[in-house]
């Protein structure tokens, strides 16, 4: 039991990382049906933004992270906007084609990172106030992990507020539920699509900055998370914020609980098997939008 408890923060922090990576996908994949494989590379771009803030712009480590968060959001958001306007908009309704297309984009971005920053990982020193950790009731709580957890919570709250309370967010929901009806009600659906993609891609940038705290920053940083992030969205249910949150935390906890007992490699396989079994029970994920469609 004690050991279970000790794994709890580990699981939550794995879940928070997954959640940050998956939140953006919840927009682009969950709501728009675009399988953006380049999302992983957007995460990488976010991570490199944090690096650039320190190494090139020369901000001190104590607050460069906080500057990097909004900058990375803007950079990857604009990148996503360009991708949407240039290519993706022609491929709505063809998810498999978007997958291959964006994978190609991802390859190019990865190689670009290799050429600009070099193939080896770069180091992004964490601010001093995130070093160390606290011990509460026998649980190790590293500050960096807690920061990521808090960041994920803030992002979720902001997205929930945006979707439910703001005009723009409500327009977005309207377009997802019924594009044609939204269009005849005077909503500029094309502009909403672009906004959705901007937000989803921007969230990848935030995830990237957060990842510099716990993992290496290199050309393949994003690739390590992208498949898991997609699984989170699939398990949570397409376009369901609460589903994404629950699924990310559940997968994180499952990973943390299975790992000490089976080893990291088997844990991956067990989690994958669990997802297959779960999809047997609920093929549409944890939550679904009720529709009259056949599937």
């Amino acid at each position: 039991m004690n050991q279970l408890l000790a794994q709890l923060p580990v699981g939550l922090s794995i879940g928070a990382v997954l959640l940050l990576a998956a939140l953006g996908l919840n927009f682009t994949f969950g709501q728009m049906g675009v399988i953006n494989m380049a999302h992983g590379e957007f995460i990488m771009v976010g991570a490199y933004t944090a690096f650039v803030m320190q190494a090139w712009v020369g901000l001190p480590a104590s607050y460069s992270l906080l500057v990097a968060l909004p900058v990375a959001f803007l950079v990857t958001g604009l990148l996503g906007l360009a991708l949407e306007a240039g290519l993706i908009r022609r491929f709505y309704g063809r998810p498999l084609d978007t997958l291959l297309l964006t994978f190609g984009i991802g390859l190019v971005l990865q190689q670009l990172a290799r050429d600009v920053f070099g193939a080896p990982n770069v180091s992004v020193p964490a601010p001093a106030w995130l070093a160390g950790g606290a011990t509460v009731a026998g649980m190790q709580l590293p500050h960096a992990r807690m920061f990521i957890l808090a960041l994920a919570a803030v992002c979720v709250a902001a997205i929930a507020y945006y979707l439910n309370r703001s005009r723009s967010g409500r327009r977005m929901r309207a377009v997802i539920h019924n594009r044609d009806l939204a269009a005849v009600s005077g909503i500029a659906t094309r502009r909403v699509d672009a906004t959705t993609f901007f937000l989803g891609s921007g969230l990848a940038g935030i995830a990237g900055v957060a990842l510099t705290l716990i993992g290496p920053t290199g050309p393949t940083t994003g690739t390590n998370y992208i498949v898991d992030a997609f699984l989170v969205v699939v398990v949570g249910g397409l376009g369901q914020l609460r589903g994404t949150v629950l699924a990310a935390l559940a997968l994180g906890l499952l990973n943390a609980l299975v790992e000490p007992w089976s080893g990291a490699s088997l844990a991956k396989v067990i989690v994958f098997a669990a997802i297959i079994v779960f999809l047997q029970l609920r093929p549409q994920g944890m939550f679904t939008v009720r529709t009259r469609a056949l599937t």
Binding site: G33, I35, R94, L99, L100, G104, L107, D115, Q280
Partner: protein
Amino acid sequence: MTSTITSPPPAAAPPRERPWPSRLAGPAVFVAVLAVALGVVPAVVEPFRLNLVAQYLCFAIVGMGIALAWGRGGMLTLGQGVFFGLGGYAMGMYLTLERVASDPLSGGVPDFMAWSGIDELPALWRPFAHPAVAIAAAVLVPGLVAAVLGWAVFRQRVRGAYFAILNQALAAAFVILLINQQHLTGGTNGLTRFPTLFGASLYSPDTKRWVYVAVVAVAALVYVAFRQVVRSRYGSLLVAVRDGEDRVRFLGYDPTWVKTLAYTLSAMAAGVGGALFVLVMGIIAPSSLGIIPSLMMVLAVAIGGRFSLAGAVVGAVLVNAAQTTFSESFAGGWTYLQGALFVVVIVFAPRGLAGIAETAAEWWRHRGRRQQLQGSSQ
């Protein structure tokens, strides 16, 4: 969520009554290509290059499976590396045991097991001492895994993007498993250093030539078999499921089995390709099975033409040939080119080279009629 496909080929075109010379054109090309591949190529090409051609053809076999499952069945199989690996490891295990048997110093186990302190052959490995078992396993194990997995996901109508992502996750999990079960699989190094195949040195030019001939023969066999599948009633049903799964269900068919069968066949093709790949390259390792290698297998088919078996073969040979040519001289440039190829093919030629060839052929066939029309309008 079904994928909309730009201008799919007609579902099992009714056998058109064509004059016999043109009806024989397809088989004639097939026989001619086969004759060149078996008769001319081994005689002119040096052994090193011949081995490379054999390697490309292994991916062509995988590609034909992808063309069946993806082009005809609409299932984007992003995890073919798994089945390729299962086939490859089955063959690799036999070759490893052949080396162990001929080496009195080995103590009856492969060296990587001895390093992990294992002095008795694990039960999983024992059957693979018989070549027949290993060859059968290289085909049947991938087929069985695909059948079980396919049945489980298709029964619940997991399709489109979901299916593709599950496949990708499967590839990721498989590679992690292989690397970490080092005492069973050789870890990152994989299985390699096979001195002999059935007692003959695997690296002699003579054996190389025979392996090449075997690869060509198997590729031809798979081509003919899959062509029959595509042209059969089942082939039409598969296309129907791709284009309107629910309509097929309303007609009284069960799409689960239609899709599972195609997925299984494509996995078996990948297994065969993997087993032959081991004979050709003398190595099977996790680095050639993960997400990226699996996607490269799909890219080759996308470029060649996902709706055409011949297109898949041409695409696999071209892409892999380009890879050896370019990645040797400038690796970074090749990655850019790969990325650009994905984009260009999807945007401008979703039916690949085969689609371009068909359009050109159509244009050629109708040129006479066009001239007539122009003549009469003037």
